[in-house]
C-alpha cells in the first residue's frame, strides 16, 4: 500500500489486482487487473501521475496452491487518471520483490524475486521514451565490480 506524493491517491496491490482509491474519502477510482493469483507491488511516480505495478510470482508467494506462471513477469506503468496502460517492459524472472521510483521520476528500480534472478535493474521511465533497460547488475557482475574496485583502491593507498 502506498500514498501518492500529492496525497490524492491510495494504491494497494493484492492478489490479481491493484486498487487505486481517492485518499480523501477512500472511493475507488481505478481497479487494475494484474496477473491472476499473483501478489503485486506498487509505486507512484513523484508527480503522482503514474503508478508502476510489478507482480511477484515467485514460489515465495503467500498463495496456497498458486498457479503456474510464465517465467518472465513484466512491470507495467499505468496512468492514474484513467487507468490506461502507458508502457510495459519485461521485468524479472518470476516477477519483482522490490519496486521504487527515483526521486526525479526518471528511473524505476526493480529487484528480482526468484532465486534465479537476484538482479537489481534500473529502467529509464521518461514519458517521452519507451521503457528501456538502463543497466542491470547480476550477482557475478557485482562481485567483479567490487573486486576490481577494491584492487584499484588498494593500489592507490600508499603502504607504510
Amino acid at each position: 500500500m502506498i500514498i501518492s506524493p500529492d496525497q490524492q491517491w491510495l494504491a494497494s496491490g493484492g492478489q490479481g489486482q491493484v486498487t487505486i482509491r481517492r485518499f480523501s474519502d477512500g472511493a475507488v477510482v481505478q481497479v487494475l487487473k494484474g496477473r491472476e493469483g499473483a501478489d503485486h507491488l506498487v509505486a507512484f511516480s513523484p508527480d503522482s501521475r503514474y503508478l508502476a505495478v510489478a507482480a511477484n510470482t515467485s514460489s515465495g508467494s503467500i498463495l496456497v496452491g498458486a498457479p503456474t506462471f510464465p517465467a518472465w513477469e513484466p512491470v507495467t506503468l499505468y496512468r492514474v487518471a484513467d487507468g490506461r496502460q502507458v508502457q510495459s517492459f519485461q521485468g524479472h524472472n518470476e516477477g519483482a520483490y522490490g519496486l521504487a521510483y527515483s526521486p526525479t521520476g526518471d528511473y524505476l528500480a526493480t529487484f528480482g524475486a526468484s532465486t534465479d534472478d537476484r538482479t537489481l535493474r534500473l529502467w529509464r521511465v521518461s514519458p517521452h521514451h519507451p521503457f528501456e533497460p538502463f543497466f542491470w547488475l547480476g550477482g557475478g557482475l557485482t562481485l567483479l565490480l567490487v573486486a576490481v574496485g577494491r584492487w584499484i583502491w588498494q593500489r592507490r593507498v600508499p603502504r607504510s
Binding site: 500500500m1 502506498i2 500514498i3 506524493p5 500529492d6 496525497q7 491510495l10 494497494s12 496491490g13 493484492g14 492478489q15 489486482q17 486498487t19 485518499f23 480523501s24 474519502d25 477512500g26 475507488v28 481497479v31 501478489d39 503485486h40 507491488l41 506498487v42 511477484n56 515465495g60 508467494s61 503467500i62 520483490y97 522490490g98 524475486a113
Partner: protein, 51 residues
C-alpha cells in the same frame, strides 16, 4: 514479499494523516485521532479491501 499488509501503518506525505491496516483499512487524523473513513477487508479475498 507480498503486498499483504496486516498491522502496518503508513504516514501521509504531509505527516497529518495515518493509514492503518488490520481487520480493516482506517485513515485517521493524527492531530485529534479522528477517523476519516474505514474500509473492511473483502471476506472472499483477505488481501483486498472492499470495493
Amino acid at each position: 514479499m507480498a503486498q499483504f499488509e496486516y498491522g502496518v501503518a503508513h504516514l501521509s506525505p504531509d505527516g497529518q494523516l495515518i493509514v492503518l491496516t488490520g481487520l480493516a483499512l482506517a485513515v485517521r487524523d493524527i492531530a485529534d485521532n479522528r477517523q476519516l473513513y474505514r474500509i473492511a477487508r473483502d471476506p472472499r479475498v483477505p488481501d483486498f479491501f472492499q470495493v
